[in-house]
Each structure stands twice: as structure tokens, then as C-alpha cells.
């Protein structure tokens, strides 16, 4: 690798890379995101590599193993440039055909194309797929273009240009001013203005200052930070170096969940590459500015996403938060001024420096600028990571991008903000998505989890799920969170078991308010949100559990019962075959019945019954 000693060197390197790329004819990109990995993309990529090497050894085909492209539901995804063909659900066996037909003859393989769910027409290119059409992929866009482990790819698309601009054409104060006027707010949850945080940290007295990237993505329904760090680690790194230069930081940490193996690996590789290229370490690009970064692995604790707990964890201690009377920007890691931003926030920085704050602030709403990545999951047709301009409505995300309901049941709510957020009912789907409007209706932006729920989802069960998750993850330091959540969980357990009484709901609300008002850290303060918002919008479901002892969505097992309708049952035996507990009896072509004692209420029989004879009550 060459060592870059100045801004001119960087530009020359980029020109070299681009001139080499021009000679290449076809670029085949296989998505290597975690979702596609679960569908076997590694095998597809290996098969491409093997076949290209064996049969053709063709210099005109260039194979790339890129980061996550977002449309995880349809993985493994393969795109072919320059034609811009988008193939989905590609398997190993499709590889020879793609090479011989599409690459050689230019023929498009219909069976691998995405079929528009509305028009039933096959779509050839990514930009025409409804899932991508309404998106604005500024930050995620790099993921499909580059190989995360190749710094040359990142340089080729203009990487580290923003760093050169910041180092040689701007003063630290100017950079902070630029970030401030862009209106960028923290993407980790609370939405604190990034520029102000940087300014406070710059002004804080102290020789040593630390820069931290938070990739301890704790929301059990979100994975955009993971995909960004996996797919474009150099964007994150570039943002951090620019931030360090502006703030005066000398050392940085990327705190990653240990479960994110690929993210850890790619971040570590990127740090080594950037160091070798002279973009990190001593005297960056010959500017005289020095900055180092290392990866710190988490130990699997949700609370470590909270900044003060995260810092304790990097120091090798138990991840307990502390009171924030003294801010992190004054006393953070080892008592020194520390600036912490999350992965998505850092990834936005190079864009703002490159294109300017007026461009950035032209996207979004009055108080929320730019784009936000959401992980659109749950009971919706198209699931995956979507990046949209702030201010888009929930309806557009769920119905235009997500394609609407999945299992034939109408959508009733969306949960945003993870365990700190809340449920928003379908009646409010015209709400524009930005930091302030989500908070106004009792939820929050959070890190961007968006879980769609339909009539088959029980809101009491979801509330219970979050409370139990948070109870498990409570660090135990302060009483309201430790004990309050436990009691809330017990009350919800009783309600879902049909043992709730008239006082249960008011007690739940009262406890929730106390936990919110008196907990020490942000996690405890927001922990009752899922319950309180569910009670606010779906009180009738709670009441059905308490008074009628019924679960309207047929989820809470103690309150439901499976039976087979004698008149509808054809006696095909399909249910008997799938029942994991052998709870179904009946001879062939005779009506079947369910033995209540053995039934585990898993619902497998209902899923396979073609005659719709299995009933839930």
C-alpha cells in the first residue's frame, strides 16, 4: 500500500485507481451483509470466483463482495454493472447461468428478477424497485458500491476527500460551524445537536481528549449501525478523524458489540489500512495532526449503549451509568473530555464536509435535517434497512417502501425507538417522521428500529416483551429501574395469564410514571414508554385481557384454545403430521381433534390447514 503524504498524493492515488477501474468491463457485486450471509451469500460469491477463475480467467469481469444493500428479505442479492441489473434470491446453482447468459450474452434471467407486488411485473434495475424508489440512500449508498475491506474502493468513490478538505482548507472552528449550521443531530436516539456537542468538547479544558464511536447497538430490532460499520468502515473512520481534528482529540475508540463479529473485523482492518496509508496515526497527510483509533469490544450488556456506561466498559469496569450532572464532554473516559457519537452520525460527517451544510440542511424538516436509516421489520412484506429523508410519513415507509401487510392481517401499529420507544397506532400513520413529532406522540426516533405489527400481534404481549427485556438488562444500580420494572413485568405476566384485576392497569401506569421520573439514566427514564404508549393507544386490548380474559390477537397462550371444526375438517392429516407434541388424533378422511392436555398451542396445525378448520378462541 502506498503512503499518502499530502492532499495532492491522495488525489493522484484516486486517479490511478479510477483509471484502472475503467479498463474493467463488468462488475458483479454480491451482497455480503449479515442478512445475506444467513441466506448463503458466501457460497454464491465463492462459486462466482471459482467459475470465473476456472473457465475464463477473464480480466474484464470484476467480482465484488460488498456490504449490506438493505433489502435483506430478498437475499442473497447480486447486481451487475454497468447494466445495473438487480438479481435477488440468487443461489449457487444460478451462478453459471448468470455468467453465460447475462454477462456474456447480455440476456436477462427473468426468474431472478424482483417482481413488483402490485403490478406483478418483473423489475430489472434497483432504482425501479418500489423498495428503493422512495429512499434517499446518502449514507447507506456506499455499501453497494465498495468492498468494505478494500481502502482503494473507498478512495475510488471519493473517500477521504472530506478529510483532506477539512485538514487543509478549513480551521477547526470552521468545521464545527459547518456541522452546526448543517443541523445534524445525533442518530443514536436523543437527537442532540452534533455541532454543539463538538463545540462544548473543544472548549472543555484539558490536553487529552477522546473521540468515541458508539456501535453498541442495543435495540433488539435494529441493525443499521452494524451494517454501516460492516459495509463502509472507512466512512465512519473518516468522520471520526475529521471530528478529532475539529475537537482536538488525540485518541479514539470504536466500541462494538462483541456479537458483531464482521463489524469488529472490518473496523480493525480499516484502521490498519488507514494507518498504513498515512490517513491515521502520526502526522496525517502531512498536516501535522495526529490521531489514533482502536476497537473496544463490548461484553453483551444493553446498558452499555448509554454513554457513561459505555465509558465505564472501555475502562474495564462494570457498565453502570453515572449521573450526567457533569457532562461527558467535560469528564468522560478516564475523566477527560470525551466526545461520543454513534456510527450513523459519524458517517454523515464526510458528506456534510464534502457537499456543504446548505446542501445537507435542504434535506429533511425544519428541526430534523438529513436522512435517517430505519430497520423496517416485522409484519410487512419488504423488510430490510431503509434510508429516507426526515419528514417522510410513516405511511410512505410502511406501505410504499414496505409494501404493506404481510400475512393478510391488517397492520395496526408500528413500534419505533426500540425498548425506549413506543407504539404508534395506524390512525397516526400520516405523522411525519422526525425527532420531535415522534416524541410528541409518546414514542421516539431512537436508533431507528421500526417494527410493524398487525392484528395478529398482541400489544399486551409486546409491552410485556419489552419490560422483560429491560428488566433483564437493567444494570441494577438504581432502585426504580431495578425493582420498578420487575413489578411492572409481574403485573403484565398476571394480565396475560388471565389473572389481572380492576386495579392492574392503573397500578401499571402509576409505577411506569415513577420509574420514568426517578431513574438515574436515560434507559430507566424511557423504559416505561412501551407500556405507557400501548396503554394510551390500545387500552381496549388490555381491558379484554383483564375483564373478558381474552387475547384478541390470540397470542397469550393461557387465554387461548385450539380446536378443529368437525364440519370443515377434511381429514387430510396434515395437522397431525406437523404437530410437535402428537396432540392431534383422528383417522384418515375422518374429522380430527386436538387433545387439550398435550397441545402446546404452537399454532403449527393452523398454519398448515388448507381447509381453515383449525380455530383459535
Amino acid at each position: 500500500m502506498r503512503k499518502i503524504k499530502s492532499g495532492c498524493d491522495l488525489e493522484k492515488w484516486r486517479e490511478d485507481i479510477l483509471s484502472k477501474q475503467k479498463q474493467n468491463g463488468v462488475v458483479i457485486s454480491v451482497c455480503g451483509g449479515t442478512g445475506c450471509h444467513a441466506y448463503g451469500c458466501k457460497k454464491v460469491k465463492d462459486e462466482f470466483a471459482k467459475t470465473i477463475r476456472k473457465k475464463r480467467n477473464d480480466q474484464t469481469i470484476h467480482l465484488k463482495f460488498t456490504g449490506c444493500r438493505g433489502f435483506c428479505e430478498r437475499g442473497p442479492i447480486v447486481t451487475i454493472q454497468p447494466q445495473g441489473i438487480f438479481y435477488q434470491k440468487v443461489q449457487e446453482k444460478d451462478v453459471p447461468l448468470i455468467l453465460s447468459e447475462t454477462v456474456e450474452k447480455g440476456k436477462i434471467l427473468d426468474h431472478l428478477l424482483y417482481e413488483d407486488l402490485m403490478t406483478k411485473q418483473s423489475v430489472t434495475s434497483e432504482k425501479d424497485i418500489p423498495f428503493y424508489k422512495a429512499q434517499c440512500r446518502l449514507v447507506m449508498g456506499n455499501n453497494g458500491l465498495i468492498e468494505p475491506t478494500k481502502i482503494e474502493d473507498y478512495i475510488g468513490i471519493g473517500g477521504y476527500q472530506a478529510l483532506a478538505k477539512a485538514l487543509f482548507q478549513m480551521k477547526p472552528d470552521q468545521i464545527i460551524e459547518e456541522i452546526k449550521s448543517s443541523g445534524l443531530r445525533g442518530r443514536g436516539g436523543a437527537g442532540f445537536p452534533t455541532g454543539r456537542k463538538w463545540e462544548d468538547c473543544r472548549k472543555a479544558p484539558g490536553e487529552v481528549k477522546y473521540i468515541i464511536c458508539n456501535c453498541d447497538e442495543g435495540d433488539p430490532g435494529a441493525y443499521m449501525d452494524r451494517s454501516l460499520l460492516e459495509g463502509s468502515p472507512h466512512s465512519v473512520l473518516e468522520g471520526m478523524i475529521i471530528g478529532a481534528f475539529a475537537i482536538g482529540g488525540s485518541h479514539g475508540y470504536i466500541y462494538v458489540r462483541h456479537e458483531y463479529l464482521l463489524a469488529c473485523k472490518n473496523a480493525e482492518k480499516a484502521i490498519i489500512q488507514a494507518g498504513k496509508a498515512g490517513l491515521l496515526g502520526n502526522n496525517i497527510l502531512g498536516s501535522g495532526f495526529s490521531f489514533d483509533v482502536e476497537v473496544a469490544k463490548g461484553g453483551g450488556a444493553f446498558v452499555c449503549g448509554e454513554s457513561t456506561a459505555l465509558v465505564a466498559s472501555i475502562e474495564g469496569r462494570i457498565g453502570e451509568p453515572r449521573s450526567k450532572q457533569v457532562h461527558m464532554v467535560e469528564q468522560g473516559l478516564w475523566g477527560k473530555p470525551t466526545n461520543l457519537n454513534n456510527v450513523e452520525t459519524w458517517s454523515n460527517v464526510p458528506l456534510i464536509i464534502n457537499k456543504g451544510s446548505p446542501w445537507f440542511s435542504s434535506i429533511g424538516t425544519e428541526k430534523s435535517k438529513g436522512t435517517k436509516i430505519f430497520s423496517l421489520v416485522g409484519k410487512v412484506k419488504n423488510t430490510g434497512l431503509v434510508e429516507v429523508p426526515m419528514g417522510i410519513t410513516l405511511k410512505e415507509i410502511i406501505f410504499d417502501i414496505g409494501g404493506g401487510q404481510r400475512d393478510g392481517k391488517p397492520i395496526k401499529a408500528v413500534q419505533t425507538g426500540g425498548p425506549s420507544g413506543g407504539c404508534i397506532p395506524a390512525s397516526l400513520f400520516d405523522l411525519p417522521v422526525d425527532f420531535d413529532s415522534l416524541t410528541k406522540v409518546g414514542s421516539m426516533m431512537g436508533s431507528g428500529g421500526m417494527i410493524v405489527m398487525d392484528e395478529g400481534t398482541c400489544m399486551v404481549d409486546v409491552a410485556k416483551y419489552f419490560v422483560h427485556f429491560l428488566q433483564e438488562e437493567s444494570c441494577g444500580k438504581c432502585l426504580p429501574c431495578r425493582e420498578g420494572l420487575k413489578r411492572m413485568g409481574e403485573i403484565l405476566d398476571r394480565i396475560t395469564e388471565g389473572k389481572g384485576d380492576a386495579g392492574s392497569l392503573s397500578l401499571l401506569e402509576e409505577l411506569g410514571e415513577v420509574v420514568a421520573d426517578t431513574s438515574l439514566c436515560g434507559l430507566g427514564k424511557t423504559a416505561p414508554n412501551p407500556v405507557l404508549s400501548a396503554l394510551r393507544y390500545f387500552r381496549s386490548e388490555f381491558e379484554a385481557h383483564v375483564y373478558q380474559k381474552k387475547c384478541p390477537a390470540a397470542v397469550c397462550t393461557p387465554l387461548i384454545q385450539y380446536s378443529i371444526s368437525e364440519t370443515d375438517c377434511t381429514g387430510c392429516g396434515a395437522c397431525k403430521k406437523v404437530c410437535p407434541t402428537q396432540a392431534i388424533q383422528g383417522d384418515k378422511k375422518q374429522s380430527h381433534r386436538i387433545l387439550e392436555d398435550l397441545c402446546s398451542k404452537c399454532g403449527s396445525c393452523k398454519d398448515v390447514c388448507k381447509a381453515n378448520a383449525v380455530m383459535v378462541q
Binding site: 450471509h37 444467513a38 441466506y39 435495540d219 433488539p220 430490532g221 462483541h258 473496544a296 469490544k297 463490548g298 461484553g299 453483551g300 450488556a301 466498559s313 472501555i314 475502562e315 474495564g316 469496569r317 462494570i318 457498565g319 421489520v377 416485522g378 409484519k379 423488510t383 413500534q415 426500540g418 428500529g449 417494527i451 405489527m453 400481534t457 409486546v462 416483551y465 419489552f466 444494570c475 406437523v578 410437535p580 407434541t581 402446546s600 404452537c602 399454532g603 403449527s604 398454519d607
Partner: protein
């Protein structure tokens, strides 16, 4: 058990107290859990109180003080998997193996960590699971073991 490796791991992290979590990760990767003797060694080398190390080792979910089974089954119980029916699979697996999440079967064959319907067993992902498929996967893993095929855990 041989604890020479522990010393090497501590050396690798330059005997730094702040690297405690990384040191424990490496020990766990090597021994499949955190043996008491290893923690004592860490305490004496880092000049730390064993209590503090015990605190860290039990606070973070990544660490286990008891040996884990040969096969590990991880069931995703994230919000998206939850609303698509994860808990149904949890009930089925719990019943089949007769253990609760976090426990190991008596024959040390299975460890089960509950983290919907994505199941991660022996380094392989199984997507779009349902209770019936879960049963099949577990039966398959059990059979492979009987045949003497070593499956990585």
C-alpha cells in the same frame, strides 16, 4: 486443565487493567467458559481484587462461569422475531431438550442461550423457523453426534 494460555493472553494485552474485558473474551474463547483458576491468575497478574473480576465476569452476558455444551443453540428473541412467533419456538426447544435458556443438557450436548424465528445452531443460521423445523434441526444435530461426527461448537 492447563492455564499456561492465560498468561499468554494477559501478555498479549500488555497486562493492562483496562483490557480486562478483552482478556476475559480471549479466555472464554479458549476454554469455552471462565474457569475459576484462570480468573485467579488474572487477578494476581493485574493486581486486582478477585471480587472485581467476578463482578465484571458476571455483569456481562458474553461470559459464563460454567462450561458450555458441545453444541450451542442461539434463538433470536429480538422484537422482529418476537412478533413473527419466536416464543413458540422457544417453548418447543425448551421442552425438547428439557432445559431452560442459559442451561446445558446433562450430557453437555446442548447449551441454549436465548437471545424469532432465527436460530443459530453450531455456527449455522436457520431462518424462518417454526416449531416443527426447530424439532428437525435438533434431531439432526443429535444424530450427527451419535454417528461420531464432530460438530464445531
Amino acid at each position: 486443565m492447563d492455564f499456561e494460555k492465560v498468561g499468554k493472553i494477559i501478555d498479549k494485552h500488555q497486562q493492562k487493567r483496562t483490557a480486562l474485558i478483552s482478556i476475559l473474551h480471549d479466555i472464554q474463547d479458549h476454554y469455552n467458559h471462565l474457569p475459576e483458576e484462570a480468573l485467579k491468575k488474572v487477578a494476581s497478574r493485574l493486581k486486582m481484587d478477585l471480587n472485581d473480576i467476578y463482578g465484571v465476569a458476571t455483569f456481562y452476558k458474553a461470559f459464563s462461569l460454567i462450561p458450555k455444551g458441545r453444541h450451542s443453540i442461539t434463538l433470536c428473541l429480538g422484537t422482529a422475531c418476537h412478533v413473527r412467533g419466536g416464543p413458540k419456538i422457544l417453548r418447543e426447544v425448551t421442552k425438547l431438550l428439557n432445559i431452560e435458556p442459559g442451561q446445558t443438557t446433562k450430557d453437555k450436548k446442548f447449551s441454549f442461550c436465548a437471545i424469532g424465528p432465527v436460530m443459530f445452531a453450531d455456527g449455522k443460521f436457520y431462518g424462518e423457523m417454526n416449531p416443527v423445523k426447530a424439532k428437525r434441526v435438533i434431531e439432526k444435530i443429535g444424530k450427527n453426534r451419535k454417528k461420531g461426527n464432530e460438530v464445531k461448537s
